[in-house]
Symmetry: C2
Subunit: 217 residues, 2 copies
């Protein structure tokens, strides 16, 4: 099978390609905290294994085989995150690093049984969709709070920033996945936003937070 490093590169390329399509060497290097020269070395190896489409200086994309592997790893990552939160009572800001290790446990049968044990969850603790055992998942179009207008309402369904400080902040504000919110005000001056929760509590968030908090309408 594939090494841990190869799996991490494939997953990284998959995530970067969601916005960009073709992914550059420097993007990968930045995302994996490594050097561009190291990335080039690995790209050659992945291209030899037919997991990416790669032409020198032109960036890369995943082949179908590469994408399948990447989605498999993401499935494992998200299922383990769900397990850690739902069964072991970790907070949503504590699980990512552990899942980074657990996503490389190789057994497919293990992950399928874990999936079944937890009742085939559709979303991980951060609202991201969990691919099924065939790699299928539907991604709902989400909008950042910053893209909404006054009086629009929706359900908190995802985050753009997965960092611990951001997630902890959201939890303290009770802005967690599944909560229904309505935009009550948008301050022109600094683009900060006022929200109302179901319990009519009013919460003010900065433009930065509004950019990273995703809503389904």
């Amino acid at each position: 099978m594939n090494t841990l490093a190869e799996e991490n590169y494939l997953k990284c390329i998959y995530h970067l390609a969601i916005d960009a399509g073709v992914v550059s060497t420097n993007q990968i290097a930045a995302s994996l905290n490594t050097r561009a020269s190291s990335v080039t070395d690995m790209l050659k190896k992945l291209a030899d294994k037919a997991l990416i489409n790669y032409t020198r200086y032109q960036g890369v994309s995943l082949t179908d085989a590469g994408e399948k592997i990447a989605i498999g790893i993401i499935r494992k990552h998200r299922l383990w995150e769900y397990f850690l939160v739902e069964k072991l009572n970790f907070k949503w800001d504590q699980v990512h690093e552990m899942a980074e290790e657990m996503e490389h446990i190789s057994s497919e049968e293990l992950i399928d049984r874990l999936d079944e044990f937890m009742g085939h969850p559709k979303h991980d603790p951060h609202g991201d969709p969990i691919p099924d055992c065939n790699g299928n998942f539907k991604s709902v179009e989400l909008k950042p709070v910053s893209a909404l207008a006054i009086n629009q309402c929706g359900v908190i369904s995802g985050v753009r920033d997965h960092s611990s400080p951001f997630l902890q902040y959201l939890e303290k504000q009770q802005l967690t996945i599944g909560k229904k919110v309505t935009i009550t005000d948008i301050i022109e001056y600094d683009h900060s936003v006022a929200l109302k929760t179901e319990t009519d509590k009013e919460i003010y968030i900065s433009r930065e937070v509004a950019n990273n908090l995703l809503i389904s309408l």
Copy 2:
């Protein structure tokens, strides 16, 4: 922390030292399916880290620090095996290889919460004791069936051979952990043994099986 290879060496030395005290280079090489020269290289590294006591040509033993790490890995291995059998419904012959990977997941908090989630089990699916979060466990003195006399009885509490074929065979014979058995006959000619279960079913096992099936009296 320690690399995966280092952890595997420490665990291996721990297991070999249970019988022998001091462990030889060749024993480790045989157990890890590697070459004596590779073992020597690693022993130097582990000695530098003060995890083993090592003098050239004289074999090795674990230091307290090394033993603590080894027991921690064994704790993880056995807890994951328990999880796989009790929560994910794997058979006892299917879990060892998966646990070999999972025992290297680093988080201590994860394993402590897993332990709690499962109600602090005392033994893994093969009857081996699970160390607690301080590394403590009591190992009961077990005897192979081959060491018992006619009419002696006891409870199946462990196995010496953890291979899939052996465990599958035992399961088919319903000779599983916790079953109470009584020796009804010992054939002088080939040292095979006849056992009686609680349900008065009579089972004949070879000397080899009798050697690998452990009983607590």
